[in-house]
Amino acid sequence: MRRATTVLSLGMLLTGCHHEAPFAPGGYGSDQPFATGSPRQITFNPGNDRAPAWLPDESGLLYSRQVVSGSDRCLALLPPGGGRVEREICSPGSAISDSTFILTEPAAAADGRLAYVVIVSAPTDKASRAALVLGTLADPAAAQPLLSFPFTAPDTVRLDEASQLRWLDAGSLAYLALHVGYDSARSRDTVRTGAEIVRLELGGATPSMAVVPGTRDASSLAVAGSPDTIYFTLGGDSRVFRRALASGVVSVLFDFGGGQVARDVQVLGNRLVAVVGGAVSFGYEALLGYNVQRDGGGPLHLVDLASGHDSVLPDSVAGVPLFFRRPALAPSGRRLVAEVVTGSVTDLWMLDLP
C-alpha cells in the first residue's frame, strides 16, 4: 500500500510540476511622464501629436500620433499619467498602400465604442477623402464607416471632414464639421476650419444627421454630460455659447471679451477651459471662398463658472512660451492635456489644475 501511495504521489507530483517557459521580452517602458511639474511634456514625437481625448474613466489618453517615418497618423493610447504608448491603432492600409492614412479625432464612449475619423489621400488625389467610423476600443479593426466625406449638408454647406467628435449619449454623436481647402499660395497647405456643428443619430439602420442651427463658423464643440446640451465657440468670437438641443435655446456661457478669440472649449461642472487669444486669426479668404480661422495656439484659460473667475494657466516653461491648442479636460477635472505648438511640430503637454 505504501508503494502504491508512493507511485501515485510521484505521478501527481510529476504532472503537477510546471514546465519552464521560453524567454520573453521584458517591459521596457514607463507609465510615468518623462518630465515632472506642470505643465510637463508627455509626448516627444518628432512628428505631430494631436487631438487628445480622455477615456471616459480616465484610465488612458487617446490621441492621433504621426508615424515618424511617414505622413500616416495612428491613434495611440497613453497611460493616464503619460509614459509609454500602450496601444497603437493604425489603418491596415498603411502598410500595403502608398496612400496616406490619418486616423484622428478619437472619441471613446463609456460602453467601449470608439468613434474616430479616417482621412485617406493618395498621391494622385486632388483632395483627400474622409470618413467618420465607429468601432470598439477592443477591436478597432472591425470599425465600420458611419459617414463619408465630403458631402453637402441640407443647408447647402459643403462639409469636408469631421473633428471634435463628442458623444452626447449612447445613441448620438455631435461633431464639428470642417471645410478643408488647399492654400495654393502656401505650397498647397491644407487649411482646415470649422464650418458648423452636426448631430448624428445612430439609432436607425443608417445614421441620420442634422445641422445644429446657429453654429455656422463654429470653431469648437464641447459636451458636459447632458445629452441635450452642447457648448461651442464661433470663429473670431470671444464668447462661449451653450445650446439646449431640444429647445434650441442658445445662451452665452462665458464671454472672454476684449476682442479675444475663444476656441477649443471644454466644460466640466463649474469648470470651463478654453484657448483664448494667442496666434489666431479669423477672416474671409477669397481664395477659398469662406471664413477661415487660422490657429497657431494660445494661452489656456480656466474659468470658474460659479464665481466667473478667469485665470490663465501657466503658459511657459523656463521662459519659453507655450502655445496651446485643443485642450482635453480629464473626467476628474484635475488635469488636462493639450497640444503645444512648437514651430511646425505639435506635442502633447499635461497640466495639473488647481
Binding site: 508503494r3 502504491a4 507511485v7 510521484l10 505521478g11 507530483l13 510529476l14 504532472t15 510540476c17 510546471h18 514546465h19 519552464e20 517557459a21 521560453p22 524567454f23 520573453a24 521580452p25 521584458g26 521596457y28 517602458g29 514607463s30 518623462f34 518630465a35 511634456q41 508627455i42 509626448t43 516627444f44 514625437n45 518628432p46 515618424v68 517615418s69 495611440a76 497613453l78 503619460g82 509614459g83 509609454r84 504608448v85 497603437e88 491596415p92 502598410a95 500595403i96
Partner: protein, 922 residues
C-alpha cells in the same frame, strides 16, 4: 492498355522472383535422429494455427508467408517422438533455417522441446541488405519513434539512405506501399506509426524485392503487430517536468496500447500516442554575451517552437474460415507546430505555423495454402487509402496550452478556407486576416530593424495528396527449392495544391498570383520474381514494370503515361562459413508531383525565383551493384560487409527557362553516383549483454543536391552570344557523409538468480547508443555571399558525436509490472555544429558583417526615438533628453540588435535531453 504494355505484362507473368518483405519463412529438414535419413511426409506446424508444411522426399520443408515475430514450430511423424522449437524468430524478408532430428519411438509420448537457434545471418536465401529493429527493441533503446529507430541503420543520414536525396525511399506498411508522392523530398509521410504497434521495422537498401517500387534508395518495411491471444497492454508517461531549468524542454508524452482477443478468434489492437513539447527542436547554442538579451538568463527554450502530435491506430485481425485472414488497419496522425522564426522571436503571436494530418486505412485479405499441398499458393489482396493534408501559414489566435504543449484544439491557419477552395481569383485580393509585419517594438533594443511583429510572413500554403491503392500479391511455392512471386498494383491519386505568397498584399507587380493545381495521376505496376535454390546456392530474378501518368492537362492536351522496366538479380552462396551475396538492380520512381506544378511549396518566397512545373517529367532511376559477405566468426557474433555502387540518373533539378535568370523549370537533369562500404558487427545478446556496431564509408556525388538547385545546362556568352554546355561537374551531395559509426550496447541484469549488487542491479536494463559522424559538406562563398569559393559542397562541417542512454528499472506492484526509466539523449551534452555560415565557415557572424548590418539598418531608420515610443529604451538615452537619437545613442542599439538577430541558434544540434518515464505493463 497499349500493345507494349500487354507484351510487358505477359512477359512478366511468364518469368520469375525474390523474397517478399512483409513476412518471412521457416525452412529446413526433418531427419531420423538415429540414421540421419530424411523423413518424407513429416508434418511441420507453426503455432496453433493453420500454418505448416509437409516434408518432401529429401526431408525438406518450407513454410512461407509467416508474419514476423516469435513462433513455435513442431515437427511430427508417425513412429517418431515429436519435437518442438520454442521461440523461433521470423523476420520479414528472411528465411529461418530450423533443422529437426526426430527420435524413433514405439508409443506416443510428449514432444521434446528444444531451444531453437535459427541463423538469419547465414541464411543463404536472404539476398537483400536488411537492417531490422523490432518494436520490442525500440522500447528498450533511447529512441522514441520509428524514424529514430531506422536512423540507427548503417548508411542512413537522417532520411537519406545510402547518400540519396530525401524522398528516394518508400514505406511499406504491412505490405502496402505508402509514399507521399506529392512531396516526398521535403514533406514527410504525414502518418507516424506509434512504436507500440510495431512488430518489426527494417531498412532495405539494396536489391529490394521487385514487388516494391516508388523508391530508388531504400525501403522502410514495417510490420505491425496482430492482437495477442490474451489481453495485454502498456501505458506510459514521459516527461521532463521535474528536471531543473536547462533540462526541461517542455516534454510530455502519453502512450496507451492494448490488444487481445474479441470473439470468434478476432483479435484487436489499439494504440494512442500523444506527444507535446514546448521546444520541439531545441538547440545547444551558446548563451548570448549581452546581458540585456532575455535569452542570456534562460538560454534553453526557444519561443514559438512548440509541437503536439497525436497518433491513433487500431487493427482487427479476423480469421475467415481455416486459411483466410482479414486484417483491417487504420491510422490517423496529426501534427501541429508553431515554427520558430528568428525574425519573430520577440513578437511571435502571428509567427508561422504548420498543421499536417495523415490518414491510412487498409484491408488485407490473405489466403494460405493447405500445409499438405505440394505447390502452396498464398494470395494477398490489399486495398489501402492514404491521405496527407498539409497546411502552413499564420496561425490565427494560437490556442492556449492546456497541459504542457498540448492545446487539444486544431490550429487554425489564416486563409485556410481560400486555400482549400483553391480560389485563386479571390486570392488576388489581400487575404482577410493577414497583416503585413512591421519592425517589432518588443525587442530589448527597440530600434526598427531585423525583428518583425504585428503581422506575419503572409504565406498560405496548402496541399492535399490522396490515393487509393489496390494490390495483389501471389506467392506460389514451386517445391522446397523454388518460389514464384508475382502481382501488381494500381493506384489512383489526387493532388491538390494552393500557395499564396505575401498574402497581405494584393497581387500585383511584385506579388505573384496564387498558384493552384488539381490533377489525378495514376500509377500502375506489375512484377514477378523467382527465387531458386540449388543446394546452397540461391538465385533471385526479378522484373518490375512501372508506369505513371500525371493525367495533367498541358496546353489543351494531355501527356501520356511514362513507363519503365526494372530488372533485378541476386545470387547468394555459402562458402567457408560465410554467405556471399551479389546483387544488381535497377530501380525507378516517379518524381515528386510537386515538380509537375508551377511555383509551389514556398520556393518562390524562399529564393525569389519563379519556377515552372513540368508535367513532362519522367522517372528518376538508379542502378545499384552490391556485394556482401555475412559470417559468424564465433557462435555468438556476426559480421556483415556490404560494398555497393549506385548510379543515379534523371533526378529532378531546376534548369533555366529561357534567358530570364530568375525563371527556371524542373527537368530530369541531374545525375550522380554513390559508392560505399558498410560494416556491421554484432555480438548477440547473451549473458546480460549484447552489442552491435555499424560503420559506413561512403561517397555521394551528383550535379545537383536537390531539385531546387539551379542547374545551368547552357551557358550563353554575353559577348558573342554563343551557347556552350558548361562542364557537368559532380560534387558531394548534401548527404555525403563519409564516415559514420553507430554502436549500440544493451545490458539487462536478470530479475532472478545470482546478480552482483543484487538489490541495485537486479532487473536493471541499460542501453547506450554511441554515434560518430564525419561532417556533411557545404559550400563556401565570399563575404558578399554572391560567389562560390571552389566547387559546391567542397568544404565540410566538423564531425558530430552523441551518446544516448536509457536506463530502466522494473518493479512488480500488485501483480503489475511497472517500469521507471531515464532516457537521455546527448548524454555528454556535446555541442554539435550542424550548420555554419557560408562566408565564414563558422556559426558566428563576422564582426565586420555585424557592423555592416547595423550600419545599414541605422541608415534606413536614423530617426530619433521619443520617450513615449514603445521603442524608447531609457538606458540608451545617454543625454536624458527624452529621445534616443543620433549615432552615439542609436548605433549601439542597432549593433546589439544585429548581434542578437545573427545569433546562430539553429547552427547547433540538440543539447542534452532527459526524460523521465513511467510505464505499466498489464
Amino acid at each position: 492498355m497499349t500493345a507494349r504494355t500487354v507484351f510487358v505484362a505477359l512477359t512478366l507473368l511468364g518469368t520469375a522472383p525474390l523474397g517478399a518483405q512483409t513476412a518471412g519463412a521457416i525452412a529446413g529438414h526433418v531427419r531420423d535422429g538415429i540414421t540421419g535419413q530424411p523423413l518424407e511426409g513429416a508434418r511441420v506446424a507453426v503455432d496453433s494455427g493453420p500454418f505448416g508444411a509437409i516434408t518432401d522426399a529429401a526431408g525438406a520443408y518450407r513454410i512461407r508467408e509467416l508474419r514476423s515475430g516469435w513462433h513455435r514450430v513442431r515437427a511430427s511423424q508417425i513412429g517418431y517422438q515429436s519435437a518442438v522449437r520454442e521461440s523461433v524468430l521470423v523476420q520479414n524478408g528472411g528465411a529461418v533455417t530450423v533443422e529437426f532430428a526426430l527420435q524413433p519411438q514405439a508409443v506416443s509420448i510428449a514432444p521434446v522441446t528444444v531451444e531453437a537457434r535459427p541463423d538469419v545471418v547465414l541464411d543463404p536465401l536472404a539476398t537483400a541488405s536488411t537492417q531490422r529493429i523490432s518494436g520490442e527493441e525500440l522500447r528498450k533503446l533511447p529512441v522514441s519513434s520509428l524514424d529514430e529507430g531506422i536512423a540507427l541503420s548503417a548508411g542512413t543520414v537522417g532520411e537519406s539512405y545510402r547518400g540519396g536525396r530525401v524522398g528516394e525511399q518508400a514505406f511499406i506498411i504491412d505490405g502496402l506501399g505508402v509514399k507521399n508522392q506529392l512531396g516526398a523530398s521535403d514533406g514527410g509521410l504525414g502518418v507516424r506509426l506509434p512504436p507500440d504497434i510495431l512488430e518489426e521495422a527494417s531498412l532495405v537498401t539494396n536489391g529490394f524485392s521487385a514487388r516494391y517500387g516508388q523508391a530508388i534508395s531504400g525501403l522502410v518495411n514495417v510490420v505491425t503487430k496482430d492482437g495477442g491471444e490474451r489481453w495485454q497492454g502498456r501505458s506510459a508517461y514521459e516527461t521532463d517536468r521535474p528536471l531543473p531549468a536547462g533540462w526541461d524542454y517542455g516534454l510530455d508524452r502519453v502512450v496507451v496500447e492494448g490488444d487481445g482477443p474479441l470473439w470468434h478468434g478476432i483479435r484487436a489492437l489499439a494504440v494512442f500516442d500523444a506527444s507535446g513539447r514546448l521546444d520541439a527542436e531545441p538547440v545547444d547554442a551558446p548563451a548570448p554575451v549581452d546581458p540585456l538579451d532575455p535569452r542570456s538568463a534562460s538560454p534553453w527554450l526557444l519561443p514559438h517552437n512548440s509541437a503536439e502530435t497525436y497518433d491513433a491506430a487500431a487493427k482487427l485481425t479476423i480469421p475467415v474460415g481455416g486459411r483466410e485472414t482479414l486484417r483491417l488497419f487504420g491510422l490517423r496522425s496529426l501534427e501541429q507546430r508553431l515554427l520558430y522564426d528568428p525574425a519573430f522571436k520577440y513578437d511571435a503571436l502571428l509567427g508561422p505555423a504548420r498543421r499536417i494530418a495523415g490518414s491510412l486505412a487498409s484491408a488485407q485479405w490473405q489466403h494460405r495454402a493447405s500445409p499438405e499441398t505440394r505447390r502452396p499458393l498464398f494470395l494477398d489482396l490489399r486495398f489501402g487509402y492514404y491521405g496527407r493534408d498539409f497546411l502552413r501559414g499564420t496561425a490565427t489566435d494560437s490556442e492556449p496550452y492546456r497541459f504542457g504543449a498540448f492545446t487539444g484544439e486544431p490550429l487554425h491557419i489564416v486563409g485556410e478556407e481560400i486555400a482549400r477552395a483553391q480560389d485563386t481569383t479571390l486570392a488576388r485580393a489581400p487575404v482577410p486576416g493577414l497583416v503585413p509585419p512591421d519592425f517589432s517594438e518588443r525587442t530589448p533594443w527597440g530600434v526598427p530593424a531585423f525583428f518583425l511583429g504585428g503581422g506575419s510572413r503572409g504565406e498560405v500554403a496548402w496541399n492535399r495528396f490522396r490515393e487509393l491503392r489496390g494490390q495483389a500479391d501471389v506467392d506460389l511455392g514451386l517445391g522446397p527449392d523454388a518460389d514464384l512471386y508475382f502481382g501488381g498494383s494500381l493506384v489512383r491519386q489526387h493532388v491538390q495544391t494552393f500557395e499564396r505568397a505575401l498574402g497581405y498584399l494584393p497581387v500585383g507587380d511584385t506579388v505573384p498570383p496564387a498558384t493552384a493545381a488539381d490533377f489525378s495521376p495514376q500509377i500502375a505496376a506489375l512484377y514477378t520474381e523467382w527465387q531458386q535454390r540449388a543446394k546452397d546456392l540461391g538465385f533471385t530474378f526479378g522484373l518490375r514494370y512501372d508506369q505513371f501518368d500525371p493525367r495533367a492537362v498541358l496546353q489543351g492536351g494531355r501527356l501520356g503515361a511514362r513507363r519503365t522496366v526494372s530488372p533485378r538479380f541476386a545470387v547468394s552462396a555459402p562458402l567457408k562459413g560465410a554467405t556471399f551475396v551479389a546483387s544488381w538492380g535497377r530501380f525507378a520512381q516517379a518524381p515528386d508531383f510537386q515538380y509537375l506544378v508551377d511555383a509551389a511549396f514556398d520556393d518562390t518566397a524562399r529564393t525569389g525565383r519563379f519556377r515552372r512545373g513540368n508535367p513532362d517529367l519522367g522517372f528518376e532511376t538508379a542502378t545499384q551493384f552490391e556485394f556482401s559477405v555475412r559470417a559468424r566468426p564465433s557462435v555468438g557474433t556476426s559480421l556483415r560487409v556490404n560494398v555497393y555502387v549506385k548510379r543515379l540518373d534523371g533526378l529532378v533539378a531546376s534548369v533555366p527557362l529561357g534567358v530570364n535568370p530568375d525563371s527556371s523549370i524542373f527537368g530530369n537533369a541531374d545525375f550522380g553516383s554513390v559508392k560505399g562500404v558498410e560494416l556491421v558487427a554484432e555480438r548477440d545478446f547473451a549473458r546480460w549483454w549484447g552489442v552491435r556496431a555499424s560503420y559506413t564509408l561512403q561517397q555521394a556525388t551528383a550535379t545537383a543536391t536537390n531539385a531546387f538547385q539551379l542547374l545551368k545546362v547552357i551557358h550563353v556568352d554575353s559577348i558573342t552570344g554563343d551557347s556552350t554546355p558548361p562542364a557537368r561537374v559532380e560534387f558531394p551531395l548534401d548527404f555525403d557523409r563519409r564516415h559514420s559509426l553507430t554502436v549500440i550496447l544493451q545490458a539487462h541484469a536478470p530479475e532472478s538468480g545470482p546478480v552482483p549488487l543484487g538489490p541495485v542491479l537486479r532487473g536493471l536494463e541499460a542501453a547506450v547508443i554511441v554515434r560518430y559522424a564525419s561532417g556533411l559538406p557545404y559550400s563556401r562563398t565570399n563575404t558578399a555571399g554572391d560567389t562560390l569559393i571552389g566547387l559546391p559542397n567542397s568544404v565540410r562541417l566538423p564531425p558530430q558525436a552523441t551518446v544516448d542512454a536509457l536506463l530502466r528499472r522494473r518493479v512488480n506492484l500488485f501483480g503489475r509490472s511497472l517500469g521507471v526509466y531515464f532516457d537521455v539523449r546527448n548524454l555528454l551534452n556535446r555541442r554539435n555544429v550542424v550548420a555554419v555560415r557560408r562566408d565564414t565557415g563558422q556559426p558566428a557572424v563576422a564582426t565586420a558583417t555585424l557592423q555592416a548590418m547595423a550600419q545599414s539598418a541605422y541608415a534606413a531608420h536614423p530617426e530619433p526615438i521619443p520617450y513615449e515610443s514603445p521603442r524608447y529604451r531609457p538606458w540608451a538615452d545617454l543625454d536624458h533628453n527624452g529621445y534616443v537619437d543620433g549615432s552615439a545613442e542609436l548605433m549601439p542599439l542597432y549593433l546589439a540588435a544585429a548581434r542578437d538577430f545573427a545569433q546562430p541558434l539553429l547552427d547547433y544540434g540538440p543539447p542534452r535531453l532527459v526524460r523521465l518515464g513511467f510505464e505499466m505493463v498489464f
